[in-house]
Symmetry: C2
Subunit: 257 residues, 2 copies
């Protein structure tokens, strides 16, 4: 999918397989992040220490510098990757791989990372983590960046979902796009039964990946879980799936440009 | 443990709990890394693209720059963290937290990361990953860095293990340290039954965390696993545990300085 040179690969099945695999990545990263408390000092704007030519939070500084570094080795040449801080991103020193683009060129302008970052810091972290500062800023931020990039990849995969749905049912989508009818597009993209299934599956995964594995097989012992499965379900219900559909609608609205 | 202000916290039990939790982190990170092939281009020295004032591999460049960034926000103020590239690491802009050091000051000079990096690139990656280049250099390197930092933290935890063992049985260790008797120290630190248990537990964890979780509960279906549990066991047997014991011995040999 990274390259998408072979159009046959763009099937709803292969996209679904990738989305399912990305759930595992997201849940692993949640479990790793919540080892630490919220660490609010990290996100305070402006940060309490002096960074030359910078006025944002400590986290923003770290994230921006990490993206700049990754951009140099071609991270954002991939249509699956969308930067959080696109201003002044350095060019890649790696030459891009030649491949036929899968998405419409307008895909590049669809980016909901600002929303993802806001929701992450102000709603998701307080929901999952204990409210405290433990001083582990570098390791906490590294976990945040991994988790945010995984969430962003999952949510912006909506572009591929929308593209394949558009190709499969062009006649249905075209008039709604021309009429700029967001509500009707959103309705056409929504499958409640599928969403219920996703919510159930991620909860089940949270239980499997969050379990305390011991060599002792006593079944009497209560199964402890490192992450609350209902919270993972809620994360998908309230943020991941709605934001993915937002990406799908935004992409479709530009699909005929 | 990060601070270790309270000496009572330094018990073999709390260290063991941390080591067990770190197994989960290592296994999550292995599962994430092996989504990608080996990507040998990343580790080729010198790299094929021109980086001003730099002659190492692309991976070394990324890792070094990441460490420099993390150092600025205090990663290496923690006695649990050991840099891979300690030359020219920038100072932390965050003030250090005041706490009573748990380890002997000589702990700082014990660092086996060069060995870890060599073993990782030349033995562990070829064992776990398909041999190929897929061009996903930035994401592959990000996974490498997370996994290497997790392995390094686990292995250098040997300093805490050695410290608590030394405190508990000073009379046994002292003569061997004074005699610089590495072999006797290694023997005193080795518990084969414990090592067997660790190998079994990490294999069981690999099975739990690497399973394909579906809503379909058919037991007839073969359980697929994203990582070979015997390889995780081997990783601990051949590298993680021996390198941890090497750290323990190196630390003990300096313990009376």
């Amino acid at each position: 999918m990274a390259c998408g040179g072979d159009d046959n690969k763009l099937s709803l099945d292969s996209i679904r397989d990738s989305l399912i695999r990305q759930e595992d990545t997201i849940i692993f990263n949640i479990i790793e992040r919540i080892k630490y408390p919220t660490n609010p000092t990290l996100y305070k704007q402006p940060c309490s220490v002096n960074i030359p030519d910078f006025s944002g939070s400590l986290f923003q500084y770290l994230f921006q510098e990490t993206e700049a570094l990754q951009s140099k080795v071609g991270r954002y040449l991939s249509p699956e990757e969308n930067p959080f801080f696109s201003n002044n991103l350095p060019d890649s020193i790696i030459p891009p791989t030649k491949c036929t683009p899968v998405l419409h060129p307008a895909a590049e302008s669809v980016n909901v990372n600002e929303k993802i970052l806001d929701v992450y810091i102000n709603q998701i972290l307080p929901l999952f983590c204990k409210e405290a500062d433990d001083g582990n800023f570098a390791t906490t931020a590294a976990c945040d960046i991994h988790l945010l990039q995984a969430l962003s990849r999952r949510i912006h995969y909506g572009k591929f979902v929308a593209e394949v749905k558009f190709r499969d049912c062009t006649d249905e989508y075209k008039p709604l796009i021309l009429a700029k009818d967001r509500d009707a597009l959103m309705k056409l993209l929504t499958f409640e039964a599928v969403e219920e299934m996703v919510k159930k599956r991620v909860a089940k995964k949270a239980m499997a990946f969050g379990q305390e594995v011991t060599l002792n097989d006593s079944t009497a012992k209560e199964v402890k879980c490192k992450v609350d499965p209902t919270l993972v379900s809620r994360l998908y219900d309230e943020w991941v799936m709605p934001l993915t559909k937002l990406v799908e609608v935004e992409y479709l609205l530009r699909r005929l440009d």
